[in-house]
Symmetry: C2
């Protein structure tokens, strides 16, 4: 029975409240594929033929222009990406590549748009998802325009700590060069920024980070929910 396929995504906000019929309509044309590390899944400018959902592994969304490249986001399970392009039937604005070995569920865009038309619960879920994405993007812009690179790094580290219940020791989730690009700086500058945060109790060894004086770091970084809060 088809409705028992893809149970791992059934709990995702996009699908939680939709009817079994709608879910099956989406599942019918969908399939799961395994990708090796560093595989480019989509390229900016292409037509948005499939909605992508990361089941395991992770995907880096990045953009290029004139031989420059920047990391826009990293997508972890279970999350959909390029929803906006899919629903509007527009070309991708970002490219995506796998980081590690990654399982992706691919749902044909026309099916997504069809169910979106017929199932108002699905439409509502998409509104919530898009509004969250939009707000996250606005926060990202604020972060970029209002803060220096040191401040962005400091706030990023605090965010990492918050995510793990204020744990003061944690591992960076991906390579420093990618982190640098995500934060809008060069790897060299990230390295120097880590050094510049030593007076605020930031200790780095490889991927491992220790925040020895969170108070002091917060006093420097001045995080706010209006930039650093989760949506």
């Amino acid at each position: 029975m088809t409705s028992e396929r893809f149970t791992e995504v059934r709990g995702h906000p996009l699908f939680k409240n939709i009817s079994d019929g709608s879910f099956e309509a989406l599942a019918r044309g969908a399939y799961v594929q395994n990708f090796p590390p560093h595989t480019e899944l989509i390229s900016e400018g292409e037509a948005a033929d499939f909605l992508h959902i990361v089941l395991s592994g992770s995907v880096e969304l990045f953009c290029s222009w004139e031989s420059r490249e920047t990391t826009m986001a990293t997508v972890w399970p279970v999350s959909a990406f390029i929803l906006a392009a899919t629903i509007r039937d527009r070309p991708y604005l970002m490219s995506g590549r796998t980081l590690g070995k990654t399982r992706i569920m691919l749902v044909p865009s026309q099916d997504v748009r069809a169910v979106f038309e017929s199932d108002s619960e699905f439409a509502k879920a998409i509104v919530a998802e898009l509004a969250n994405f939009y707000r996250a993007s606005i926060k990202n812009t604020k972060n970029l325009k209002l803060r220096t690179s040191k401040e962005r790094l400091a706030n990023y580290l605090i965010k990492c700590s918050r995510r793990e219940e204020n744990c003061l020791v944690f591992e960076l989730q991906y390579e420093k060069r990618r982190l640098a690009s995500y934060l809008g700086m060069t790897p060299e500058n990230l390295s120097r920024s880590f050094n510049a945060l030593k007076p605020f109790g930031v200790q780095v060894d490889g991927q491992k980070v220790r925040l020895e004086d969170l108070e002091k770091l917060i006093a420097f970084a001045k995080p706010t929910d209006l930039i650093d809060g989760y949506e």
Copy 2:
């Protein structure tokens, strides 16, 4: 008859396809207000009590952090702003102030959410609107992260020209200091950037801009729909 009120917004994408009943439900609690120039309409962090729609004049959306401030966007008639906060019932992420004398239609957020629940055409229109906002925000991030300030200015000027059917003479729509902030630089740097674009045929006198060699400017700016296109 209430449905004859607010006819000026009936053609807006958000309301074009909704039922008369839905429109009246929105119109019932809505009202129009006139604001003088430089009036702060909303402040970031506040609860999103009303959906705002600019009927005439214009509104600057801006953000602040630690005594720094940056312009995020300018809203022209007829457009809604802070839709995402309204629909998600979250605090505003941006502040808004009138530029000139401005007429605003205010729709109680709870009414927007109620009609959103009951009218699937309205929900669909909101999806389209949010997806466009999101994609515009992604483009803005790409612009900021991938380009220098000179390149951003050059592409902005080309965009202005495009908007007026490739007219080579046009007026800047708002003060240079606001433009500078929007483009992510200081007024001083904007002034110098204009000078730096002289070799590409950019002539500025007050608010008036002349592009004397569009080819050359385009060759420098390298615009692309994936950053500079309208949604």
